[in-house]
């Protein structure tokens, strides 16, 4: 997948979803020191007040979250990265991530992504039977 799309797209794959083992460490990976506080506050607000992940703990091992919760954390992380680092025109492929979400969480994510799209012009894609399809926001 990286061979085919890695040059032009950011690929988020359910089977290899995180690099580190906690939300805090993921944040440290993606932000410079002076933005860590605001990034952590941002993701915390998203996870607790938008997605209602009540089991959220920034130090908790990511393996302790359910599959769907991991997908939500992945969305929240990428939204925070795009927003705080002011990344524009990013093309993202979600592989087997949307499929792990319950109906209500899909709707929330769609709404959040549509809002982000207005500010940063992101586009979301997914693979269906090996073909790349654009997700309508």
């Amino acid at each position: 997948m990286i061979d085919s799309y890695g040059k032009d797209y950011l690929i988020l794959d359910f089977d290899n979803i995180f690099i580190t083992d906690s939300i805090e460490d993921e944040i440290i990976m993606y932000f410079p020191k002076d933005k860590l506080k605001i990034a952590l506050a941002d993701i915390e607000e998203l996870l607790l007040k938008v997605f209602y992940i009540n089991s959220y703990d920034r130090k908790k091992s990511l393996s302790k979250y359910s599959g769907g919760e991991k997908s939500i954390i992945c969305f929240a992380l990428i939204m925070t990265v795009i927003k705080i680092n002011q990344i524009h025109n990013l093309k993202i492929i979600f592989n087997n991530i949307i499929e792990s979400l319950s109906e209500n969480n899909r709707l929330i994510i769609k709404k959040q992504m549509a809002l982000l799209n207005k500010e940063t012009n992101i586009s979301i894609y997914y693979l269906k039977n090996g073909n790349l399809c654009k997700y309508i926001l």
Partner: protein, 168 residues
Amino acid sequence: MKIILAKGRYYFKERDITYNVDSDIVLNLENSLYTISGNNGIGKTAFLELLLLPLLKRNKLDFAYLEQNKNNQLYTIESSLAFCKKLDRSKDIYINWLEVLDYPKIIVADEFDKYSSSFTKILSTKISCIFLVSHLKNVQSQVQFKNIKNINICLKDNKERVIKIEKE
């Protein structure tokens, strides 16, 4: 054959999770698809691992369990097959595995339908019952089972999980 998930309150200290089964749930293992539904984080995987798989084991039934993260399990399947000198690279890995397991009649699959090509291959074997956690809506149309039911898990009083069976 039928097995029963008995009425009761089940508490699992290791995961601090409680399931309530209001009345006996009879599970028909012939010609059946049971989907397992519920919100993200409600405990669907834990239901499989803490209640359903032990129930199948207690009844001495052969089954294959397909985990939520395919990649992790594939390494295990491949190395187990290699260790038993049964790895056949000319075959699909799942078919190779199910063949070595003598084609279990029961499949327990955790969101495995998202890997559609692997799932279709598994469906082509002679399965009599599938338990499937899924958020996708098209699974019923992919199978031809007579008995299709949904096991729903929902939260009661923000604490305990209630398990109910409902006909599709």
